[in-house]
């Protein structure tokens, strides 16, 4: 498959994520949208890695083949850690204000 489909998919996913973050107020949905954006990037990383690997095959450059894909795992691990922290925050938030609406958390103001 041509690279442009992957890029198209990634951009679409990313834009959906951004739109979600911007428009929704529910903290959990915002979280999901952030995951969406992260995964859009992951898709791109894998796709480009595969593409460069094909062109670099004859040149004995093994690192080019695997780097992008390895990076994806890192992002996944970090995202998982982030989710665990984030969810903990959301739980605490719910316990305190009985809501997961982010606009409720503007108490620091004034």
């Amino acid at each position: 498959m041509e690279i442009k489909y992957y890029i198209g998919l990634a951009v679409a996913l990313f834009c959906i994520g951004v739109a979600g973050v911007l428009t929704r107020r529910n903290a959990i949905i915002i979280f999901m949208c952030i995951e969406l954006m992260l995964n859009a990037v992951n898709v791109l990383l894998v796709a480009f890695s595969k593409m460069h690997a094909l062109s670099a095959l004859g040149k004995a450059m093994p690192s080019v083949v695997s780097d992008g894909q390895l990076f994806v795992f890192f992002i996944m691990v970090v995202a998982a850690a982030e989710v665990s922290v984030g969810l903990a925050i959301i739980v605490m938030m719910y316990r305190n204000v009985h809501a997961v609406d982010v606009n409720f958390l503007n108490r620091l103001k004034n």
């Binding site: 973050v21 911007l22 107020r25 982010v102 606009n103 503007n106």
Partner: protein, 632 residues
């Protein structure tokens, strides 16, 4: 006799000790004790000075090194004392006249509170210490320490009665005027260090060949600027008459006998530099002569007894500078000595009169004091004769020597100088006649109170009178007595170097006789005229007119300085304060603060607390970066 030289350091240290004891213990010492300490320390210095003088007379003229004062790289300035003919002579004048004035002060200042009394003696001792340092220093730096010290003491003592604001202003005026001169002195010292690498008198005079004519002229002119400040010459003389605000003994000691002669001492000390700079010599002579005449004309119409004496001092200092300018160093130093005697006498006599008159200083309210104050009257009369240059009193010999040297250089200057001497005779006998002759013109209360002053006042007067009468006999000119000029012989080693390079003007003895007769007879005529005119003086309410008014107002020089210098400076300061400082600098600094304040208040609105808004802004920012990346 050599052992005496080991005691030299005690000469300035004794008054310093007196200063410390009186200054620190002023709240605990009784009047008698602080007077005793003040006078006793100076008496101690006087005794050692006499011993040192005798030792110097036998030919001991060492430079005594105590410790390194400044030692930086190639520049070495030692704390050295120069003991030679010139400094030992000044030591005698300072400690001798100083001691008499200390004794006089114990009585004159008796009405002060004990702590003010002790403070007065502390200042006076500090002054003597600084003045001794000034004349004993073996280099320009040590001299400068004393130079500044006497200026400080002058300030403190002029403003001694500091509750009177006018007196404070007079003190400030003296200090500021002196500072202007000191700057010249300081620049000259820097110049010397730059060119010769030393400030030692001996080093500088030995290495004089290293200096170009420009250097010498510049250095000597700058030193002379210093001298005009300290010795009250045109254009910096106006502080001295105002300095009369201080107690009268202070005027006698500082503003007549010693401090104001510091400039003459300094030039006499640097005589070789001046002898090699004819331009400076001409400047010194002209400034000296103009000051002598200007001050003498002002003195003609002053009514304050101390103001007359103050202008007379300025005028006599002018004569000394005239003498220095024509190369008559011995004559100038001789006049310093005789002037110290008779001017201290006149000031102390005036103090005695003021004391008797309960503080009155206006001569128009005096008169007829002769019959109340016998000793003061007699001593004052002899002092007046001495300053008027009547033979055989001291003033005759010294003034005659200066005028003779001036005649040899330029008869026109001599003529002007004699005119000044006539004015001297006139104003002194105007003062004498208005004070002591005629009828008493004061109030009845004052008349009732009139009395001769106590012994502590009259004894110094008598001693000074004796000195004013016989003090000139050490310098009888060759024309009158062969080998009579012991003074010149004594000082000859100091001026030997410059004597060697100056052209000698020899005069026949008949010319000298003629000069003496002319100046003495002219002075005598004016003296008698003034005596006749003012012994019948009556108080009038008539305003002075014409030239008399101008003289009474001191040629309006103070007003001139006020408009020419003080006002523009004040105007400028006001302008800088109101426009540059308030609007410019303050405006800028406050403006920065205000701008930051305003800006942050506006930017703060972005922090809405809405997470959505932050994210939106972030996304917009990223988009902008994208657009820049892609299209620009």
């Amino acid at each position: 006799m050599n052992n005496v030289l080991q005691l030299v350091w005690l000469i300035p240290v004794l008054p310093l000790l007196g200063f410390l004891i009186n200054g620190l213990g002023r709240k605990h010492l009784s009047k008698g004790l602080s007077g005793l300490i003040g006078s006793g320390t100076v008496l101690g210095s006087l005794v050692i000075s006499i011993l040192v003088f005798l030792s110097v007379k036998n030919g001991n003229t060492p430079v005594i090194h105590y410790f390194d004062f400044i030692n930086a790289g190639s520049l070495k300035i030692g704390f050295d004392f120069q003991v030679d003919q010139l400094s030992s002579l000044f030591l005698l004048i300072i400690t001798g006249v100083g001691f008499l004035i200390h004794v006089y002060s114990t009585s004159y200042m008796h009405e002060e509170e004990p702590k003010d009394f002790a403070k007065y003696f502390a200042y006076l001792n500090l002054f003597v210490f600084s003045m001794l340092l000034l004349v004993m220093g073996a280099n320009y730096v040590i001299m400068f320490i004393g130079w500044e010290g006497v200026g400080l003491c002058s300030y403190l003592l002029i403003g001694f009665w500091f509750r009177n604001n006018n007196y404070n202003n007079a003190a400030k005026k003296a200090f500021v005027m002196n500072r202007i001169g000191d700057l010249g002195f300081l620049l000259a010292v820097f110049w010397l260090i730059n060119k010769t690498g030393t400030t030692d008198f001996q080093g500088v005079f030995a290495g004089i060949s290293k200096l170009t004519t420009t250097d010498i002229t510049g250095i000597t002119l700058l030193l002379f600027v210093g001298a005009t400040g300290k010795s009250a010459q045109i254009p910096l003389y106006t502080w001295l008459p105002d300095a009369m605000a201080g107690p009268t003994p202070v005027s006698a000691l500082i503003h007549a006998a010693t401090m104001v002669t510091a400039g003459i001492y300094m030039i006499a000390r640097s005589n070789i530099l001046y002898s090699m700079a004819p331009v400076t010599q001409a400047v010194v002579a002209i400034v000296g002569l103009s000051t002598a005449i200007l001050a003498a004309t002002i003195a003609l119409r002053q009514n304050d007894i101390k103001k007359v004496l103050a202008y007379s001092t300025v005028s006599q200092l002018g004569y000394m500078f005239l003498g220095l300018g024509v190369g008559a160093y011995t004559g100038a130093v001789f006049h310093v000595m005789t002037h110290a005697f008779f001017k201290a006498l006149l000031f102390l006599g005036a103090g005695s009169v003021i004391h008797a008159m309960s503080g009155e200083q206006d001569m128009r309210n005096m008169g007829g004091l002769k019959k109340y104050m016998g000793i003061t009257h007699l001593t004052f009369l002899l002092g007046c004769l001495a300053i008027a240059g009547m033979p055989p009193f001291a003033g005759f010999f010294s003034k005659d020597e200066i005028l003779a040297a001036v005649y040899a250089k330029n008869p026109v200057l001599w003529g002007i100088g004699v005119a000044g001497a006539m004015m001297t005779a006139f104003y002194m006998f105007r003062l004498y006649a208005m004070t002591f002759l005629g009828k008493f013109r004061g109030t009845h209360e004052q008349e009732h109170h009139l009395h001769e002053s106590p012994m502590a006042i009259t004894i110094p007067l008598m001693v000074l009178t004796l000195l004013s009468v016989v003090g000139g006999w050490v310098g009888i000119p060759e024309a009158l007595m062969k080998g009579g000029h012991h003074f010149a012989e004594f000082l000859a080693p100091v001026f030997a170097q410059s004597d060697a390079i100056t052209v000698k003007h020899t005069m026949t003895h008949s010319t000298e006789y003629m000069l003496m007769i002319v100046s003495v007879s002219l002075a005598l005529v004016t003296l008698v005229y003034a005596w006749m005119k003012f012994s019948k003086y009556e108080k009038t309410d008539k305003e002075e007119t014409g030239i008399g008014k101008v003289l009474e107002n001191k040629w309006y020089v103070d007003e001139l300085y006020q408009t020419m210098i003080t006002r523009p400076i004040q105007f400028m300061s006001k302008y800088f304060n109101e426009v540059l400082e308030r609007k410019g600098i303050d405006g800028f600094v406050n403006g920065v603060g205000k701008a930051v304040n305003y800006g942050s208040r506006q930017v703060r609105l972005l922090q809405s607390g809405q997470v959505g808004a932050y994210v939106l802004l972030m996304v917009l920012g990223i988009l902008v970066l994208f657009i820049i990346q892609l299209f620009l």
